[in-house]
Each structure stands twice: as C-alpha cells, then as structure tokens.
Amino acid sequence: MTSRTLFFNFIRFFFLIFFQVLILNHINLSGYINPYFYIYFILLLPFDTPKWMLLIAAFTLGWSVDMFTNTIGLNAAACVMMAFFRPFVISAISSGPESLLGDTPSLRNQGLKWFLYYSVILIVIHHFTFFFLEVFRFSEFIATFVRVLLSSAFTLLLVLISEYLLYPRGK
C-alpha cells in the first residue's frame, strides 16, 4: 500500500463516517429503509491490505459510527463480520489472482458483474448482522428481513452511484 492510497483511505474513512452520522442517519424512508453507506470504506480497501488490518480498520470504523448512534458494539460487530468475509468473497468470485486488475476493487477495474457480486454479498452480510442484532427478536423476523433487503438495495444504489460518479469508465 503506497502512502498515497493510505492517505486517500484515511480521508475516505472520516468523510464516510460524517456523511453517515450527520446526513444518512437522519433520512427516514417509510421506516424500513436505513442506508448504511459508510461500509463503502470496507468495500474499497486495497486488495493487498493485510488481513489483520482489514479487521482492525472495520472495527474502528464501526466503533466510530457507534459512538454517534449510541449503539456501542452494534456497528462494530456488523463491520467486523463483513470484513471477515471479504477475503473469502473475493477469492470465491474471482477466477484467480491474476484476474484482479488494479489495486482496489472497483467497477472500472473488475467490471459490473464482478463488482455487483462482490458488493451485494458483503452489503447483505453487513445489513443482515446489523438489523438482526439490533432487533434481536425472532417474532419480527419477516419485518426485519424486509428491512435488510430494502436497506441493502438502497445502500447498493448509493455505492453504484458513487462508483459511476467518482470512477467513470475510460479515464
């Protein structure tokens, strides 16, 4: 990881946290949709990030958001879960290490299909952990499941929008 990517990831870390707690957490769409866009940070970490750093970064990220929402441990648990699955998801959906162009996962480098698989699986893992821990009741299973699906779709939409805006195809 070069110092340049380190710097960009650092900025992204703080930007996404503030975007999440100051803007997205105040958005209310029908009571079922809560986008958790800050996990975009974990999606965008470079491929060669050491695995331990992946977990520590995810934990710090989740913890920081937790501080603002007063749900100590909730976001952290969901983020760590997501970061844990990231290496497995990458190796499962890629045909080999040589197929991974560039140093960070992105729509431009890996193509739409790869990126969709990658982000959908990880976003659903995060949201599933998050909402079921938050409710922690099986009597509301269906309602919680609907929340997981709708919120995941909304988060995915935000991720795709920023992919197209920030990293347009063909420089």
Binding site: H26, S30, N34, N70, I72, G73, A143
Partner: protein, 276 residues
C-alpha cells in the same frame, strides 16, 4: 510449543476475527453496564459536541417553525395569567399550607440529535446532570409524551424515545380509566400498538389514550394518542389496537424533562415494603 505458535500464526485471522467480534458483542449486550464506564463518557462527549455543532447549523433552517411554536405557546400562557380571567366574585379563597406541595417540575431542553427511522430510536438533549436531570425521568413536549432519560453526562442526556423496542408506556382510556400498555413495533413512526386491552372494553376509533401516572415516569393525563384501529382476538384474553401518536417524533425541537419531586419518597416507600 513451536507448533502451537505456528498454528496461531497460521490462523491468526480467525482468532483476531473471533476476538473482535466477541468483544463487540459483549459490549453490545452488556450495554447498560457499559454506560457507566469512563470510555462511554468520553465517546458521549465527542459525539455530543459534534452533534451540537451540526445542530447549531441546522437550527437556522427551522427558525420559522420554532417561532410559530413559541408564539402558540405564548398565546396559551397569556390565556392563563390572572388578567385574562373575568373575576365574578370578590371573595377569593386563598390557601397556603402544607397540603399543597409542588409535585412536578419541568426542565426545558433542546433536542440536538434525534431519529425515527431505526428499530430503536434515541434522542440527545443539551442538558445534563448539572441541570438536575437524572436517569428514568420522563420527557414530554407540550402535553404529549416523548420518552424517558436513560443516560446522563454532565452537559447532555440520552433519551430513549417512545419509538424503541424497550419502551413500554402505561396508559389508560380517557373515557373509562381502563389500563393498557402502549408499545412500538417498528415501521412508521406515526403509529404504535396498544396491548392488553381487556376484552369487555368497547372501543371506537378516535378513543383517546392518556398516561396513567402509574409508572413514576410521567404524570397522569398526558396525551399518548388516539385509537385508529383494533382487532378482536378470538383466542386470547386481551384485544390489541393500533394507536396514532399525538407526538410528531420527527419534528421535536424543544422538549421538557419531567422532574418528579416526590419520587424519592415513592421509591423509599416501595423499598421499605420489600425489605420486610
């Protein structure tokens, strides 16, 4: 020993994952004990100050509405001052003795963070223990309920909104004083659920539910909401209903914290029986 060490090194990723995940879950599930720790007050102070900066900006956008609310409130108060009354009798009975005591006191505070879109919603207000706020105090807006204080730092308080899975408010029908419980099952923030309505009660849409005053948190007679629908359960002893909250949880600006001046006495009374 060397093999053990190598084993750990080989699988450190799994161990680190288990460590961090367990740590987060322990904190999450032992949240209540954790609230007292020093780490918590540091994080509360950080998020509190960021929230008040952001709120300082967003406050400007709602000035017009705040003005309107204040004017309405002023009109209401004007109508209560002695000059507003027509006094028909000169024999005014004036009573000043120990029978009349102040039971409730109100502390006004500003909401600096609020949510309605989660399953468990909380508010933060800009007053804390130095202003006299303590845990388990009720929070109201006008004559409508908001929630209860669950955590206090020096300058801020954290309030569990009515919109929370742990929130359960004791209410009653205004028309016949029958006790019920009011909860929130998630979904839209405008509607909640009324539980444990005795079968023989005849309900109609629009029945008013007010606080019962049984819980030591809210005084009696505050508005909770009105019944908007109900279901007659066949196989249970109680009916359930749906309630439209009187409070608009999404537009809370200034709220009041209810201080029950006689709470210590009530609690001491309860405790004295338990120790028998």
């Amino acid at each position: 020993m060397r093999n053990l060490f190598l084993f750990f090194r080989e699988h450190y990723f799994y161990f680190l994952f288990l460590l961090l995940e367990t740590f987060s879950l322990i904190l999450f599930f032992n949240y209540n004990e954790f609230q007292g720790s020093s780490l918590y007050s540091v994080s509360n102070a950080v998020s509190g100050s960021v929230n008040s900066i952001f709120n300082g900006i967003s406050e400007y956008f709602s000035l017009r509405k705040t003005n309107r609310v204040l004017i309405e409130e002023m009109a209401k108060l004007h109508s209560r001052i002695p000059e507003a009354f027509y006094i028909s009798d000169v024999n005014v009975f004036y009573k000043k003795d120990s029978i009349v005591n102040l039971e409730y006191k109100y502390i006004s505070a500003k909401v600096i963070s609020n949510s309605t879109n989660k399953r468990n919603n909380f508010l933060m207000i800009n007053k804390g223990s130095i202003h006299g706020i303590e845990n388990h105090m009720g929070v109201i807006i006008g004559n409508k309920i908001v929630g209860q204080v669950v955590s206090v730092s020096a300058h801020f308080s954290w309030i569990m909104s009515m919109l929370n899975k742990d929130s359960r408010i004791s209410g009653k029908f205004k028309k016949n004083n029958q006790l019920v419980n009011v909860e929130w099952n998630g979904g839209t923030y405008r509607k909640g659920q009324v539980k444990e309505i005795p079968k023989h009660i005849v309900m109609v849409k629009g029945d008013t539910i007010i606080t019962s005053g049984n819980s030591d948190i809210f005084p009696e007679g505050l508005m909770i909401g009105t019944i908007s629908g109900y279901k007659n359960a066949q196989d249970e002893n109680f009916n359930n209903g749906e309630i439209v909250f009187s409070t608009d949880f999404n537009s809370l600006g200034y709220i009041e914290v209810v201080v029950d001046m006689m709470r210590k006495e009530k609690e001491a009374l309860k405790a004295s029986f338990k120790t028998e």
